[in-house]
């Protein structure tokens, strides 16, 4: 069914274009009206598509819109086509709705920024690119969005480009993403090579058939594995870049250099979830290959735990949230990696709300604290920032997984799914259990670091900042608080769209799974005992983490936290330094590459290009010039000599007989025709020709005719020699050629 889907990304693109062209001259209110209007319009179209048009088309592949043919070359034909099904539709709703809220919030947050229009132009551009990413019906169209959001992320991280730290963070994000994008491209190439198509529905169909995608690549080596495995793995490498997973997560914490609304929208709610979306979108491919699934799940689970641990010791508000985002993305990947696609997408949905809420709270707090995000100087902000505190409280409980807040349902369905999954066959059975255990530890860690953040920032009686900052603390304006409250409502209640209906004997209560079923297949069946057991366990873990954090940090830094820091100072430093992964990458990758670059610069640039190519060609010209100068000495006699040599040369050449470069020989049977004319024109002077067809010194044909015919007595290989004489000058030339007659 077709629907005018192109409007959804087009409106934000249009908004961005208008703001880039005219925004600088406009008043701030006009800029906001255009930017927020564009995204609101796109949100309304998405709502219309999702709630009114989609239900009828859900089982027939969703809504479809072909804008035109993008490229056609041989068997490759790529349409600029968009598709909205339950999965991409849900993402569209999240992007446009949260995008809209963040536009409103930004109008307060960026109020005093001189680059107000540029900010909103980028924000709109980002929304458009992200919508293309989720709506794209083929991998290349998705890739446009994929690169587009990367570009916007780069632009917005380095939004305050006058500080080189921000610009560096932007570059780091961009380059790290490029590494992942290479994987994405290779995955795309593999899929095209073996399925002959880049359209997602066609790839899904090919994957359902198995066949071509199950051929073994690299047979006989240790890399021998089905095509599906490699394609899935390379696509996942792309996802690790975009979604900040081990090993490419390092850019996300640095990306916090950008304005906070950007962190909320791009680096928490939408762009970083693109990888999860992509895996869910390509689920048919991933289902073919448990090995790749296991890698996805393990990377996700390890990232979840690893980032949570780093989060324990960060002292910057946004850095804690950044590692929290990495960790939560790990949860999502663990979800989709255990074939629990619905749960992964569910967590994506709830996370979008509570993490955007947390980031916007961070913005609000930093706004109040005069721009500082240092949580060691905060404390006791509960009374001073009542709305922010309320919202943070809700989002905090949601991310910790306290019952009936949104994170509880989604996280629980991922963990119980990991234990209950049946995707891993023989040999990989341990993966599900291991992933589940790691995720539970990560959930405990999440509760701990988030509670630490909450207690250090909001509880206590005294703010630990200087008097000047304390005096300045105030609640944020309405434009910032309003979106916060909406997000808090989402964070509190969002979980109810994905109620574990099976547990309550009402599977239809799980609205989300119901909606996603035509796209991602039916919800994973997990036995009631497992589900209930892990539900209880995760509640215990969440409360345990919160309690532990209270012991350490309730009301400010408490005795146990100081004792712990004193007892294991080196470990604490290591965690504070983020396990020094950046330094490790610097040592293992960046430094060798820099060395290599320096070497290449020296060999290729300095020696090959500068010395050999540039100076070398100059030197050759110089030598030739010196030779020419020797002739041009001004000495009459030398001119005379050159003249004499030239004249002699002309005479020599002019008196040679006129012959072709190669004899023209035509063989037919045993007879040959030999033509010794130069060019097609008749010779301009009389010459004597003697044709010796068997090269025995006795010419068979002589005379003034330039062509001759001869019949050989028997087959064989002969040498034809033609002697050409100019009777006037007495010069002669001989030509010979091998002839084979049969």
């Amino acid at each position: 069914m077709t629907f005018n889907l192109r409007l959804i990304p087009l409106l934000p693109f249009l908004g961005a274009a208008i703001l880039m062209l005219f925004g600088r001259k406009w008043k701030r209110d006009t800029v906001l009206l255009v930017a927020a209007g564009a995204i609101a319009g796109s949100c309304l179209v998405a709502v219309d598509a999702f709630f009114t048009a989609l239900p009828a088309a859900a089982s027939k592949g969703g809504l479809h819109d072909v804008v035109g043919t993008w490229m056609a070359a041989g068997s490759l034909k790529i349409d600029l086509a968009l598709r909205l099904d339950a999965l991409s539709g849900l993402l569209c709703l999240i992007i446009t709705f949260i995008g809209f809220l963040i536009h409103i919030y930004s109008s307060g947050y960026m109020e005093h920024d001189p680059d107000y229009p540029r900010f909103f132009a980028y924000l709109n551009l980002f929304c458009g690119a992200m919508l293309v990413l989720v709506l794209g019906d083929s991998l290349p169209v998705m890739f446009i969005g994929w690169e587009g959001v990367g570009l916007c992320s780069y632009l917005l991280i380095g939004f305050w480009y006058s500080s080189s730290a921000n610009a560096d963070a932007g570059k780091k994000a961009f380059i790290t993403n490029r590494i992942g994008d290479l994987g994405f491209l290779i995955g795309m190439f593999l899929l095209y090579q073996f399925t002959g198509s880049l359209n997602i529905p066609e790839i899904t169909a090919a994957a359902s058939g198995g066949g071509a995608l199950m051929q073994t690549l690299f047979p006989g080596t240790i890399f021998a594995a089905p095509v599906a495995f490699w394609a899935a793995l390379f696509l996942f490498i792309g996802a690790t870049g975009k979604s900040a997973q081990i090993p490419l997560y390092v850019w996300l914490p640095d990306a916090m250099a950008g304005p906070t609304p950007v962190s909320a929208l791009i680096h928490a709610a939408t762009m970083v979830t693109a990888g999860v979306y992509m895996v869910a979108r390509m689920h048919a491919l991933y289902l073919l290959t448990p090995g790749a699934m296991a890698i996805v799940a393990c990377v996700g689970a390890l990232t979840a735990l690893f980032a949570a641990i780093i989060g324990f010791a960060q002292n910057d508000f946004k850095k804690v949230l950044a590692y929290s985002t990495i960790s939560q993305l790990g949860f999502m990947f663990a979800g989709v990696g255990t074939a629990n696609f619905g749960a992964g997408v569910f967590h994506l949905f709830t996370h979008a709300f509570f993490k955007a809420g947390l980031f916007l709270c961070a913005g609000s707090v930093m706004h109040a604290m005069g721009g500082s995000g240092d949580i060691t100087i905060m404390g006791g902000l509960r009374k001073k920032l009542p709305f922010t505190h309320g919202v943070f409280l809700v989002c905090w409980l949601a991310i910790c997984g306290v019952p009936f807040f949104s994170g509880f349902f989604s996280k629980d369905s991922i963990i119980s799914g990991a234990f209950g999954t049946e995707i891993f066959g023989e040999g990989l059975l341990w993966v599900g259990k291991a992933v589940g255990v790691v995720l539970m530890l990560a959930a405990l860690g999440t509760a701990f670091y988030m509670s630490r953040l909450y207690f250090l920032v909001f509880t206590g009686s005294e703010t630990r900042a200087s008097d000047e900052i304390k005096h300045h603390i105030h609640e944020s304006p309405g434009a910032m608080v309003g979106p916060l409250v909406v997000l808090a409502v989402g964070a509190a209640l969002g979980g109810f769209i994905g109620l574990p209906g099976g547990l309550l004997d009402h599977p239809e209560w799980n609205l989300l799974a119901d909606r996603l079923a035509p796209v991602l297949g039916p919800e994973m069946e997990v036995s009631r005992s497992i589900e209930l057991g892990f539900m209880v366990a995760s509640v215990v873990l969440a409360l345990g983490g919160i309690g532990l954090a209270y012991l350490f940090y309730g009301g400010g830094y408490r005795e146990p936290s100081r004792k712990f820091a004193a007892a294991a100072p080196r470990f604490v430093r290591l965690v504070q330094d983020k396990f020094r992964i950046d330094e490790l990458y610097g040592l293992l990758i960046i430094r060798p590459i820099k060395r290599l670059a320096k070497g290449v610069f020296f060999v290729v640039d300095r020696i090959l290009i500068d010395k050999i190519l540039v100076e070398g060609s100059g030197a050759i010209v110089g030598v030739l010039a010196r030779m020419a100068r020797a002739v041009q000495g001004g000495d009459v006699q030398r001119y005379m000599a050159v003249f004499a040599i030239g004249a002699a040369g002309i005479v020599y050449l002019a008196t040679r007989p006129s012959v072709p470069d190669v004899l023209k020989v035509t063989v037919s049977g045993l007879s040959v025709d030999v033509d010794a004319r130069r060019g097609s024109k008749p010779a301009s002077r009389v010459q004597d020709y003697s044709f010796d067809f068997d090269d025995d010194g006795k010419p068979e044909v002589t005379g003034a005719a330039p062509a001759a015919h001869h019949a050989y007595p028997r087959a064989g290989t002969y040498t034809v020699r033609v002697q050409v004489k100019d009777p006037n000058w007495g010069t002669s030339t001989s030509l010979k050629q091998k002839v084979e007659v049969r």
């Binding site: 000495g633 001004g634 000495d635 009459v636 006699q637 005379m640 000599a641």
Partner: protein, 99 residues
């Protein structure tokens, strides 16, 4: 006598003249070499003219003699000018064409 002899003689004359022009440093001798070349040409003209029984060659020889006289006049004039300017008639030092 066969024409070939005359032609060979004229070629030898021409070569001697050419060698004189190329090798001798004295401009006066170089001019004499040019004179020799012209006369080599003259001799060839006459030889062919006689061989072919055609008077055009003789006419050309007269032209060439006149041309040689003119050439000698101009050449000597240049030589005098050169000597006035540089106090030498050595061709190695007459390299003004370079500039």
């Amino acid at each position: 006598m066969p024409t070939t002899y005359y032609i060979v003689l004229s070629f030898v004359l021409f070569l001697i003249g050419t060698a004189g022009v190329l090798v001798r440093r004295n401009a006066l001798i170089a001019l004499m070499g040019i004179e020799l070349q012209l006369n080599g040409g003259n001799l060839a003209m006459l030889a062919f003219s006689r061989e072919l029984g055609d008077l055009k060659g003789h006419v050309f020889a007269f032209f060439i003699i006149a041309l040689a006289a003119a050439e000698a006049a101009v050449g000597l004039a240049i030589l005098v000018a050169l000597f006035r300017g540089r106090q030498t008639v050595n061709l190695d030092e007459a390299t003004l064409l370079k500039r």
